[in-house]
């Protein structure tokens, strides 16, 4: 995937909504937004140094600890979206970020918020990042620190009455 940047956020190559993801409502089922967010972040994970080679060599990997999607607009068969990435916070064993699925016409179909954990597979248990990985995470944090923190981060879910 490319290393394109849009308004300071890293964006993936376009991804297309597949027929097997369409449900009885005639739109992409809520479950598959997660697939697009996951695929759409892999270029950032590779840039940090993660992926199957890292897992095999170091017996460490990343697990998702927490993931929250806000569904803003329906996606239909054949729609093409790119995924934008913004780092919010980096710790010794985890990092926190937000994503947006951006339709090729420019509107945002959904937002994602995730906590990524570094995992020692011999546990599995949460483990500190090696210095090279930590340096890369800090570099991304520095590069994106000027971006405003979205107002939906940290808000509890609830009904509007």
């Amino acid at each position: 995937m490319s290393a394109a940047v849009l308004e300071g956020k890293y964006v993936s190559d376009p991804m297309e909504v597949r027929p097997e993801w369409i449900d009885h409502n005639g739109h992409m089922n809520m479950a598959y937004y997660g697939v697009l967010f996951d695929h759409g972040s892999s270029h950032v994970y590779r840039r940090i140094g993660f992926g199957s080679a890292y897992r095999k060599e170091h017996r460490h990997t990343t697990f998702s600890g927490d993931f929250r999607v806000r569904y803003l607009r329906e996606l239909k068969l054949g729609d093409r979206v790119r995924c934008a990435f913004q780092m919010l916070d980096v710790g010794p064993k985890s990092f926190h970020y937000v994503q947006e699925l951006i339709h090729e016409d420019g509107w945002v179909a959904a937002t994602g918020e995730e906590l990524s954990l570094h995992i020692d597979q011999s546990g599995p248990r949460v483990a500190p990042y090696p210095p090279g990985i930590k340096a890369k995470l800090d570099e991304i944090m520095d590069e994106q620190a000027h971006l405003p923190r979205p107002d939906y981060v940290g808000k509890p879910m609830g009904l509007r009455k």
Binding site: H24, N25, M30, D38, F67, R70, H96, M157, L159
Partner: protein, 156 residues
């Protein structure tokens, strides 16, 4: 502690396993959503309603906390509790448990009632509203899980 409604058991599909050799993070939602389908059938918001009434339900928001990895071939079931009901939406939580009983993940979501002619958010029919309120009263006997409403963040 578990939640009041228990959905049918499901088996993980092989294509949902990722390079970590466990259920990929994205497919937990599929399993949670099947559990919601069962509940919606009971309250009159199932696939038949969606196909015949001109109304349906959309998800507004969904959050998963990943507690323990699920190995290939695992048998799992979800549980469900209503948290709050409004005229056009309901708020709920779920657990995903291994058939042996241990907790693999928690889910929390908001479901909207939708008039497909918009699509726009619309009030529930009276019968559905009654069913939701009866279920909420029934579920109120189970405490709200302590993980509801906690913000996400990095431990330093």
């Amino acid at each position: 502690m578990t939640l009041p409604y228990r959905a049918a058991e499901q088996v993980l599909k092989p294509e949902w396993i990722d390079f970590n050799g466990h259920l990929n993070m994205a497919y937990y939602v599929v399993l949670f959503d099947w559990g919601v389908d069962e509940v919606q059938d009971q309250i009159g918001l199932g696939v038949r309603y969606a196909e015949t009434s001109g109304f349906t339900t959309f998800s507004a928001e969904f959050r998963i906390r990943y507690v323990r990895e699920l190995p290939p071939g695992s048998r799992v079931y979800s549980t469900f509790r209503l948290l709050d009901v409004g005229p056009k939406a309901y708020h709920f939580c779920q657990e995903l448990r291994h058939a042996d009983g241990w907790l693999a993940a928690t889910g929390e979501g908001i479901s909207l009632h939708i008039d497909r002619s918009g699509p726009k958010v619309a009030p529930y029919p009276a019968a559905v509203m009654q069913n939701l309120e009866a279920m909420l009263a029934d579920h109120a006997a189970t405490p709200v899980p302590e993980w509801i409403g906690q913000p996400m963040g990095v431990r330093k």
